[in-house]
Symmetry: D2
Subunit: 413 residues, 4 copies
């Protein structure tokens, strides 16, 4: 049902987030969605860009807003999607991150459940408020929303909008992360991209005249990977968090050093009341308390996380005497009583795994081009020489070594 008057939420990226459908307004008010106020968009990056304190709540509303504009402004979308599908894709945009736990990947490891699976459960759980709001609007809606999110809806256009190499999710987070970190890297020309999107044969594509804007978007993604998301100190923070939970799990099995706030991590799944209690705020408070745990190693790791005593790091390639130096470092650690499993990390990043765009094993971005006076869909790399060059990038890797700042790297500087 249409709201009698558009409701708006102020947003620095989009000016306003505009709510026109009652179902969207009610979804925002569910406890499942309000919980996202307490789940942050970025993790360790916050240790490098201290102003990037934004939540998945703000991001999810932004994804919804971009999707709303696509549905309303891009020629062909309303013709391709049924009214129910239009509603469903907007709901999917809003809800796509619903299942994220605290310290995202870390929680997935512990719970052995992907956030996508939890999202599905949260939407389909008949006792949940999200389900009830969706089902009241249309009984077919909960399933359709989860089908779009899981790429089994049979509606490729809707799925492309939510999760593809040019989707509303990426568009919002690039712009939002750039805004909140105070960097310009993630900026691209959203208005131009929106103006050149088209639908051809039921597939989302970009007019030839918008190709350069898409290149720009891809380069924005590349920059955000290397300047923000893969920053060595961000990764170092997450290594500390992982080490903390490894130690905690070990002690937990011996029923030692339990912290009440951290327990929902281990038992909340599929219990919505417990799940609402599980967020970055409570887990960070738990780690904060763990500074006073009996186990000195757990307490030490907690203290490093809370007070930003990050690990030191070096690029392995910068070390002339790598293996020997590593051994000397490990010797130092033994003497200083640091468990290398928790305090020493060798992390390799393969550049080709962080390509901002790929066509192999992925659905390419399509360009709507003219060929012999006829419209034709082409892969982006067939039109853009820059993107073609990117895809031919030779595989390279970076290996970083992490260790406590207290130790000295064994070499003259």
């Amino acid at each position: 049902m249409r709201l009698p008057e558009t409701k708006v939420l102020r947003d620095p990226i989009h000016g306003y987030v505009q709510i026109q459908e009652e179902v969207i307004w009610k979804l925002i008010d569910t406890p499942e969605f309000q919980r996202l106020r307490r789940i942050r968009q970025l993790g360790g990056d916050l240790e490098v860009y201290h102003t990037a304190e934004h939540s998945r709540f703000a991001h999810s509303l932004g994804v919804y807003e971009i999707c709303r504009r696509v549905v309303n402004e891009v020629p062909g979308v309303k013709e391709t999607l049924s009214l129910l599908e239009q509603k469903a894709v907007l709901c999917a945009a809003l809800l796509h991150d619903l299942g994220h736990g605290p310290f995202s990947h870390c929680y997935e490891d512990i719970s052995k459940t992907s956030h996508e699976d939890i999202t599905q459960w949260l939407i389909l759980n008949r006792d949940g408020q999200v389900f009830q709001v969706l089902a009241k609007e249309d009984p077919a809606l909960p399933k359709l929303v989860t089908d779009i999110l899981a790429h089994r809806s049979g509606c490729p256009l809707a799925e492309d909008l939510i999760s593809s190499q040019l989707d509303c999710d990426r568009m919002d987070y690039l712009l939002r992360d750039a805004y909140c970190t105070g960097t310009s890297y993630g900026s691209f020309d959203l208005e131009r991209v929106l103006r050149t999107l088209r639908v051809k044969d039921g597939i989302l594509c970009v007019k030839r005249s918008g190709m350069h804007s898409v290149e720009d978007y891809i380069m924005a993604r590349y920059q955000m990977y290397w300047q923000v998301y893969l920053h060595p100190d961000a990764a170092g923070y997450e290594l500390l968090v992982n080490a903390f939970f490894e130690r905690y799990a070990k002690l937990r099995q011996k029923k030692q050093n339990r912290v009440a706030l951290l327990e929902p991590i281990y038992d909340c799944i599929f219990d919505p009341r417990r799940f609402y209690l599980l967020d970055d705020f409570s887990v960070l408070s738990g780690i904060n308390q763990a500074q006073f745990a009996n186990d000195p190693v757990l307490a030490d790791l907690a203290e490093r996380i809370i007070n930003r005593r990050l690990l030191e790091w070096k690029n392995e390639s910068d070390l002339p005497n790598g293996p020997a130096a590593i051994q000397m470092l490990l010797d130092q650690m033994e003497q200083a009583d640091f468990d290398p499993e928790l305090y020493f990390h060798r992390q390799t990043l393969r550049l080709d795994e962080y390509l901002p765009y790929r066509e192999e094993n992925s659905i390419p971005i399509r360009i709507l081009d003219q060929e012999g006076g006829q419209e034709a869909l082409k892969n982006l790399s067939a039109c853009s020489t820059v993107v073609k060059a990117l895809l031919e990038m030779k595989e390279t890797e970076i290996t970083r070594l992490y260790f406590p700042k207290e130790l000295k790297w064994p070499e003259q500087r």
Copy 2:
């Protein structure tokens, strides 16, 4: 001691926060200061402007950066302040918000201690890391920093920079709150203000040519008051939080419904280890848990706070039949079993208490003007007709009534 190389933190408002002194770098790394990452700058405003999720950590660094620029760029400051005073004023800028508790004013009410007093204690506590960092730099520094913050340093210029009607604190929060809410209201021309600041007879003042920029800054403050800080829904959220803690305190006296996470509120004072645990994250997590408390009123209030079920409000002046309607509302509340002490609120705002600038009972902003070929300090209102008009604004007040959305305002619309 000067750092060998300036260290920088990215910031969307200032480009970079530049750290040149070792003492500043070390203060940032103390647990007392890192705790500010978990204390938010805004409270109920976040319910209206959902993107305003920034912490006092980011703000404090911003205040420091503006202060650093004033010390380095404004002619006369380095000539007026000794080297120790220069260092102290930078430390004071960084640390001025150190004592803020969760839900700022709410915590001050419960603890019956102002955040200024806690700040003083945190800085002067010999066991604290802040004290040790300061004292190691110079034994006189802890006292001098607290004296500047408390306006008893005998150094008016340093005190003006930290707390006056044109101080680094206000300049940063106006710009930052505007940026994070996504509104333009708080914007003013910081560069121009900085360029026209001067020191005359040991007092901070503004060159005549910068007067309009100061007017602009004052109007920015006015706009932020009325569009953000005093927004009816922001105030409504804080009324709910107050009601929650009122109920909690009542039950607590009977030793009922205690929530472990909330207890530090009542006993952390002057125990730094406990104080580090006290922040918005832990208290919100505690309120979150209180949704499942035995007491149904406490649980209801918690649920409204967590899930943003705010109170409804009306301007009393818009009600033709005010008193009668209020009585009918109270009758409804009794029937529906709402305790009016917790669920009905009548809040009056006097506009003259929220003037963005005043000269009565306050130190005016001074303009450095020419008079008969000579420099002279004048009060801002003596130069600016706009500010003069503002100060002559007749007293007005707004009264708002708050009540649960479930009730119907007893009138035909």
Copy 3:
């Protein structure tokens, strides 16, 4: 007629200017409108803010775009205006500045014709392309457009959009001038203003919740007056231009020192072919040539204009010995052979003539308020204490004295 596809022009203020009607697209292509590329928005201000090089072409497109958004987005506009009136108001927005000559006010003085009268003539001239484009769309259009511009259309809503205290013209130029000067003074929240505009009883008004945004817009106007439009050096430049044309006219009567490029100023009126040749570019080129004129005074004035040798100025109130000093200055001028009629100027600005808003002798901005449960229109000053204070500002004036930099102000400094 609707265009088959919306055409867009990139614009830094509005993102895109969107053209949906064929008549607008064709008007942009007329020589009358293209001429505005060579007429600048600002005059002497450019001597202070050197980046403010934008033309009335860009501004006119911006006014059109704001008007287009109002027609499409503000509830009640389409219901109030007939289809023809909607088209006419868009055309009027686009064409409102068509008759501006070079050095705007200066040209009006010389030609003894207001730019509004020339605009009317350009639109109604049956041989002009603007007339033909309009008449082809609808024979009634040329007259309706000029009637709206001249406030005699009988359609107050359309007239308000083009010329009132809250019109599309002012909204665009404040934002654009701020952007191009690089100052933030003129910024206000256009999105919020647009969202709170309403139509009540055929009159444009602002919802109560948008009142603070309107205050902000009025203060932006105030700041632009005093920081940009009335800057002493901007005024000084215009005094030089006036002096140049005074001298030129005097010589011209004697048939001396004629510059071909400047002649259209005196004889282009009501001859469109001549009028197309009359713009800032040709007149500045003419003044440039006049540096090499035989008359040394004309050449000197030209050289000062072209090479930015502006007049010196002082505030009369800053001078303890005003009248005596002025006399000594005039004596100096006589000795140095400066004609005081051309080189000495005493300019008085009355602040109440540059109020950013007024209700006396003007149609007030209306606020749509609730009163006793009913909607009612109120004057802005009845709602806003800040605006009320502004209107009560006591009359003040500033007098500035201008004279050549070569002279020394006769006093010790």
Copy 4:
């Protein structure tokens, strides 16, 4: 000589342009430099991005400001450059575009003189004011400034700052053109680039940690080429201007259709008084007048330029029947009496000629890296996989056909 107080000019890109040296302040006031107010930065691009109306005056001040910041902020610059060289490089930054004529390349073709040569002449001409200001500051300055501009100063660092693949010129124009067009393509993180610049062995280089910012800058350049500078309609406008001057030259030889305003193009060289009269304003005014020339072809070309009746264009590769279609088009042109030399153009762009960065036949950007614990300079492409991929881009070309809109492309669509 240092100015007693820093003078500032407001600028939207840099906040303020700061003038600290008297010689810079006086250079700005010379007629040679003030003339740049009447030379635009962009040519045909203005027909596509109508708001890009900025002059080389604003740009030159911006280049100076970036250079000033490099000299003051980048470690090693002041140690490497003598005081005179520091002054000279600032003057060179300010004056580097002094010799640009109207319609830049077009004027170079007609005058058969590069703008660089004219700049040299303007600076070294002993009667010119620029020479006098420079020589008064230091007799060696005029020669040193021209030597830096001509890459024969023997001071590579100074030359790199003015003209290299990472120079102050490009940095300013990318940011400024992006700002004025209202696109974001040209944006890159100037602050970050400035913070990571270093000097090693007398050569300007970039710290490894700034490498991604340099990639971003290179991609900004790439985007500006393809979205702005090489836009088909911008090129089409310049083809019209070239055709106009070809026709004008032909008639001129026969002493026909002379336009006084255009004559300085042919005879101003090395006569400064004439040169001051030669700018975009006067030449555009001349073309404007040429609309009324006797020669109908000249008049037609003038009218197309002034009223933006651009040529139509097609990508040759989009035409299935290219050669046949071209022939039919030429036939049409003959019938319609269009001279194909003036009205038909086939323009080929080779992508490898518009690479945003190259290392072959160019001095590469150098990265300051660690190798075996030692600092080492490496070529950018040796560090950046993205740049390496760009350099390996296979040669591609685009061919566009231009012809009057009146003709129909001979094919069914």
